[in-house]
């Protein structure tokens, strides 16, 4: 308890001195800088981070399943725990059948987002890079070679659009094109006489609002993830700067724990929302598992 109090006191002192310091601080740019420009193909630092995260995950996945056996051990056990846990989580939302069918996407989304978010907190991410030197000899700000993959609007929008395309595919596959439209525009409940006709009219009009809501979904998914991750990375960078050369790490330390949590929560939120959107359109296919 005393140790914790001491740590907190030092941290607050450090933070106070940081706030008292003069001058502005460098903040993370909104966009991910291009680090390699091949003309027709640009590579940003967030893209490199994404490839690294993907590569590491696939490497461990292959390692875990290389000698897969009926009695799991070691890494296979760990991988199975994640897969089984996620499958159960998604099965609770979408029903077992739909969850198994779409698991490749939702499982990948969750694992990718969570590890990409956590990777953003690794040392060297955002701090190791190069400077561009202009013709007059002036140096640019540091261009980091790595940046949190989800702190780039291109990545989060890419994820959201990929989901959106798949959502349309799954919806049409499960309902048919007519069923897909009727799911949006047609009243599915019971009723009789004038009330039923009125409900049909209302639901038809509400269908247009639903279309707007559906069109906005990728945008909200994109901005929520980007905003949270960008804000987190910016916060860490600010804290590191405000703490100064020697105490930057201390000022940022509590926020690292916070960001660990935020990284996980944002992955869960993205996965949960996309699963719910899919479930709303397709879950009635699974009779006996979930009711409407």
């Amino acid at each position: 308890m005393r140790t914790l109090a001491t740590i907190l006191s030092v941290w607050f002192l450090c933070l106070a001195s940081a706030f008292g310091a003069e001058g502005g601080y460098h903040t993370l740019p909104f966009n991910a800088p291009v680090v390699v420009d091949l003309g027709f193909f640009k590579i940003t630092n967030s893209m490199i981070a994404m490839w690294i995260v993907a590569g590491v995950i696939i490497f461990f996945a292959q390692l875990a399943t290389r000698k897969i056996s009926l009695i799991p051990s070691g890494l296979q056990n760990f991988a199975e725990t994640i897969v089984e846990g996620l499958e159960g989580f998604l099965g609770g939302i979408m029903g077992t059948k739909l969850a198994r069918e779409t698991f490749w996407f939702f499982g990948s989304v969750f694992i990718f987002i969570v590890f990409a978010n956590w990777m953003g907190m690794f040392p060297t991410v955002g701090t190791v890079g190069h400077y561009d030197v202009a013709a007059d000899g002036t140096k640019s700000d540091l261009i980091p070679w790595l940046r949190g993959a989800n702190a780039d609007l291109n990545t989060t929008l890419g994820l959201a659009l990929a989901f959106f395309a798949l959502w349309i595919y799954w919806s049409v596959k499960h309902n048919g094109f007519g069923g897909f439209l009727s799911h949006i525009f047609v009243y599915q409940g019971e009723g009789a006489g004038f009330i039923k006709i009125l409900l049909y009219v209302i639901f038809f009009l509400v269908g247009f609002l639903e279309i707007v809501s559906i069109m906005i979904r990728p945008l909200t998914l994109t901005l929520r993830l980007y905003g949270n991750v960008y804000a987190g990375e910016n916060l860490l960078e600010l804290m590191l700067q405000m703490g100064g050369q020697w105490f930057g790490w201390l000022a940022a330390l509590p926020f690292y724990f916070l960001e660990l949590l935020v990284g996980l929560i944002q992955a869960l939120v993205f996965t949960l929302l996309t699963a719910v959107f899919t479930s709303l359109m397709c879950h009635h296919e699974e009779e006996g598992e979930h009711g409407h």
């Binding site: 640009k42 399943t65 291109n154 990545t155 659009l161």
Partner: protein, 186 residues
């Protein structure tokens, strides 16, 4: 609002959208090639993850689920067989008990009959032995009586001969014997 105003307003919205687009491109670095690259990159990642992780692991989990289900099914079958076997055994034991009791009762009955038969046989044999013994006794008595009579006659004849000093003929001896025996009686 007339048509010209509506058109002007829609033109304004279009220019606003264009400005938003340019702002997104400049400030946030939103770029078509980067967007497609990230999307394709993610889909490739998802495909590889499905191939190397989710596919094999889900297949393994499914296989394990099937094995567990099959095991449970087998267990239920074994439990049923065990219950059937216990019922059959109990029935067999009950039947065996019944048979055993019946056999014991039959054996008891048989033993009693046998014992009775042997007793009757023994009684018959004993009676036969008694009859034989009686007959033998009577024969012995008869024989001894005859011998005694004969001896008695001889003694009477000898005595008579000595008393009279006369040699007795065989007719005399017979006569004396008969007389003596008739006087002695049986």
């Amino acid at each position: 609002m007339d048509f010209v105003h509506i058109l002007a307003a829609s033109g304004g919205v279009a220019s606003d959208l264009k400005a938003v687009g340019e702002n997104l491109q400049q400030q946030f670095g939103l770029h078509g090639q980067l967007l497609i690259s990230q999307m394709v990159g993610f889909l490739i990642f998802a495909f590889l993850l499905k191939k190397f992780a989710f596919g094999p692991i889900q297949a393994m989990l499914e296989q394990r689920r099937e094995r567990i289900a099959a095991g449970e099914e087998k267990l239920k079958r074994i439990e049923k067989q065990l219950a059937d076997s216990e019922a059959t055994t109990a029935a067999a034991i009950a039947k065996a008990n019944e048979q055993a009791l019946r056999l014991i009762a039959e054996a008891k009955e048989g033993a009693a009959a046998f014992s009775e038969q042997k007793t009757q046989e023994a009684i018959a044999q004993a009676q036969q032995i008694l009859a034989k013994a009686e007959a033998a006794g009577n024969a012995d008595r008869e024989r001894i009586s005859t011998e005694l009579k004969r001896e008695f006659g001889r003694l009477v004849a000898a005595t008579t001969s000595q008393v009279t000093g006369k040699v007795l003929t065989s007719d005399d001896q017979n006569r004396i014997n008969e007389e003596a025996l008739s006087k002695v009686g049986n």
